[in-house]
Symmetry: C2
Subunit: 120 residues, 2 copies
DNA sequence: ACCGTCGTACGATGCTCATCGTACATGACG
DNA sequence: CGTCATGTACGATGAGCATCGTACGACGGT
């Protein structure tokens, strides 16, 4: 069951920050969100760690900037943010993104940063 | 057979503007190229028409701006430009992009502009 | 109650870049 | 050879935005 309270959402035990319905999200906004190098790094870190907060993410910018990037990613539908105590844990909306834009996130995460590595 | 002359390339009958090897292209640059709404529209038009020139593409910007966008798309590895007479015909590097970033271009082109259409 | 941590809001700043107008080189056409 | 179209280079301009510092509210631990 899911109820809305003041723009937020409560799902079982967790409270989530408001997030857009992916059906109403344009791929242009998603691409614009993923275009920034810091945000792309955040997406990669979230894909590897599962969850991440404003201070736990290892990116070369200040906390307030990370907060701004996580807000951008959330408003574009890329991540969902869960409130636990005093911290906010964000995670990729992997399944929903795969349903709305099949192959997009997978191809981005699978892509090596630059040239392909020659192994063996 | 392919030879390089002054940065350009000659392939059978056609001469092509210099373009990067996709193995040396970072996905961040590609995403940044596709993030602009006009360039995304150009990509969609090229996917539909196969080829397009600076004046044939129906976008709401001036010719010099279209030229700038096509240059950006070419330098990021998204399109290839062929010289024929006085015009330059650009096309998507569909096959090469699919090999380098599997599923990326497909997912972008398959995505509807906003919400999914309910058919039937 | 006190203090440290966490995240955000806000204003300021500086840089990137999309856009345009213009000028110019090139090729097609008569 | 003159004329027109095509595309690009270049400079100017304006807007968007990434970044930071600071202040503030909320929560947890002691």
């Amino acid at each position: 069951m899911t109820i809305r309270v003041e723009g937020m959402m409560r799902d079982s035990q967790d409270t989530w920050l408001p997030q857009p319905d992916l059906d109403e999200v344009d791929i242009g906004e998603v691409l614009q969100a993923l275009a920034d190098p810091v945000r792309l790094q955040i997406v990669r870190l979230l894909a590897a760690a599962g969850e991440g907060s404003c201070t736990s993410l290892d990116v070369p910018v200040k906390r307030s900037t990370v907060s701004h990037h996580l807000r951008t990613l959330r408003e574009s539908g890329v991540v969902a943010t869960r409130l636990v105590g005093n911290t906010r844990l964000s995670r990729l909306r992997t399944a929903e993104l795969e349903e709305r834009f099949p192959g997009l996130l997978v191809s981005i995460l699978a892509a090596t940063p630059r040239a392909r590595q020659l192994v063996g």
